[in-house]
């Protein structure tokens, strides 16, 4: 965020994981331009930071996960996979590139031969994306069920499952599906087959959570998903992720806030929280060592 009247904002951080040498991260924002550096070298995107330290983000508006469209749920999966599967960023980016290329050809009504020449790169990257997402959901599902039972209390149950657009387990199967949908793709000017159409099904008591769950249940479910994300990132990375909690106090009631703080406090990792009211952040339940920084009229004070 750029201070009013200013022309840029800079964030510098030093990241030190266990006994490894520290890394310097610097992010500079100017209107319309974001420049990122890692150890004084420019990097193209934030994924350059992901290999060093894992992050789990809680922010208001996560209710989108239950109430919104599939893209918020895919983003959740991709964020975890970017941070925990070394081959995923490449597979995902290549899939995007193949998809955009093929879609451009479909829109331009290019020859069938041109369009089909992108089918194999598309299929090969698609299976890698789908396999990684499948493994992740498989690992997350029991954590979500357990966390929901604990947070929501009562006898209601929650479940999440991966719903890939294309169930194929090999590139050849994806190729067949692409061939079958060729005329449809041409008519639509876009590729219908592949992980860009994936979703995560979220259910409460075996009904779709979006229409069936109460507001309270939906909020509990979102928190359960985030707790599962935290547990899975930690299990996969073998180290504690940094938790970033943005104004969570406004989203959660007293009971759920306490559950969240218990989960965090038990973890022992680093937590960065923002709030508009310090009473929402009980430092004593979070263990020792907390630092409070106040932002007032554009100035920071401790």
């Amino acid at each position: 965020m750029i201070r009013s009247g200013g022309d840029r904002a800079t964030i510098d951080a030093r990241i030190r994981v266990a006994e490894e040498p520290a890394h310097e991260v610097s992010i500079q924002l100017r209107p319309g331009v974001r420049s990122l550096r890692l150890d004084e070298k420019r990097v193209p995107g934030p994924e350059a930071y992901f290999g060093i330290v894992q992050m789990v983000l809680f922010h208001p508006g996560e209710l989108e996960l239950v109430q919104g469209g599939p893209s918020a749920r895919r983003t959740l999966l991709d964020r975890v996979l970017y941070q925990t599967e070394p081959g995923y960023p490449t597979a995902f980016r290549d899939h995007q590139r193949a998809l955009k290329s093929r879609n451009r050809l479909l829109q331009d009504e290019a020859s069938a031969a041109s369009i089909r020449s992108f089918d194999r790169p598309l299929a090969e990257t698609a299976v890698r994306v789908v396999a990684a997402r499948g493994r992740l959901l498989h690992q997350m599902a029991p954590f979500v069920a357990a966390a929901f039972a604990e947070i929501a209390g009562g006898s209601s149950t929650a479940a999440i499952a991966y719903r890939p657009q294309c169930e194929a387990s090999s590139a050849d199967e994806v190729l067949e599906a692409l061939a079958r949908s060729f005329e449809r793709d041409r008519a639509r000017g876009a590729t219908c087959v592949g992980p860009q159409g994936d979703d995560v099904e979220i259910r409460i008591d075996d009904h779709p959570a979006r229409s069936y769950g109460s507001q309270g249940q939906q909020r509990a479910l979102v928190l359960a998903v985030k707790c599962a994300e935290l547990a899975v990132v930690q299990a996969r990375a073998g180290q504690l992720p940094v938790l970033l909690i943005d104004d969570v106090s406004s989203e959660l009631d007293e009971t759920r806030r306490r559950h969240l703080y218990r989960t965090i406090g038990g973890g022992g990792g680093q937590v960065v929280m923002t709030t508009t009211d310090a009473r929402f952040v009980p430092l004593e339940t979070l263990g020792t060592g907390g630092t409070v920084t106040r932002v007032s009229q554009g100035k920071l004070s401790r």
Binding site: D94, S101, R102, S114, S117, F118, E124
Partner: protein, 192 residues
């Protein structure tokens, strides 16, 4: 210094170092260097047959009678051709495309020298090895070429192979080490 800084891989600091080096260098060296640079584009041009750089009508590889004219390796760039030459494992000749199919950059099949390739393949060529890089565009180009070769009467019987994926996907042939690239060549397989 501003002109030097436009060279690939040359930043501000390197440009400065080069400029100071040239200021202090012997006069005849600087004259010779300047002459070579300004003649470069006049004297060096693509080989009429394969697209490799040459000062003659046809390049040293195309005119070398010891090379196997029955095997043609299709590459994206002259740099990739040189990378394959460095392995010392390829006995045949080349065909440089100069670009890859890249719809996002507006490059289509009509921008590639495919007719010239089909023309060349007609007589005595047994195998075409497609060594475009293992990227989305490189793979798509390989598949497009294979279809084009299979679809033309004159070339339908030619074996079309693809270098093995020993080179990492999303990688760059130019920077692959010689052993890896050599293995990728040896492990080439027919494109279905």
């Amino acid at each position: 210094m501003r002109l030097l800084g436009r060279l690939p891989g040359v930043g501000e600091r390197t440009a400065q170092r080069l400029a100071f080096f040239l200021l202090r260098a012997p006069r005849d060296y600087v004259t010779a260097l300047g002459g070579s640079i300004s003649e470069l584009q006049e004297r060096v041009h693509p080989c009429a047959r394969c697209g490799n750089y040459t000062e003659e009508e046809a390049c040293a590889i195309c005119t070398d009678e010891r090379r196997d004219a029955g095997v043609v390796c299709v590459v994206g760039t002259v740099q990739d051709l040189m990378a394959i030459e460095r392995t010392g494992r390829f006995p045949g000749r080349y065909h440089v495309l100069g670009a890859l199919l890249a719809p996002l950059d507006g490059v289509g099949p009509e921008d590639l020298p495919i007719p010239a390739l089909l023309e060349r393949i007609g007589d005595g060529v047994r195998e075409v090895v497609v060594a475009t890089p293992p990227t989305v565009e490189g793979e798509a180009t390989a598949l497009y070429l294979a279809q084009a070769l299979k679809g033309s009467n004159r070339t339908a019987c030619v074996r079309v192979t693809r270098i093995a994926s020993g080179v990492q996907y999303g990688g760059d042939l130019e920077y692959a080490d010689q052993v890896t690239l050599g293995r990728a060549l040896d492990g080439r397989r027919e494109i279905e």
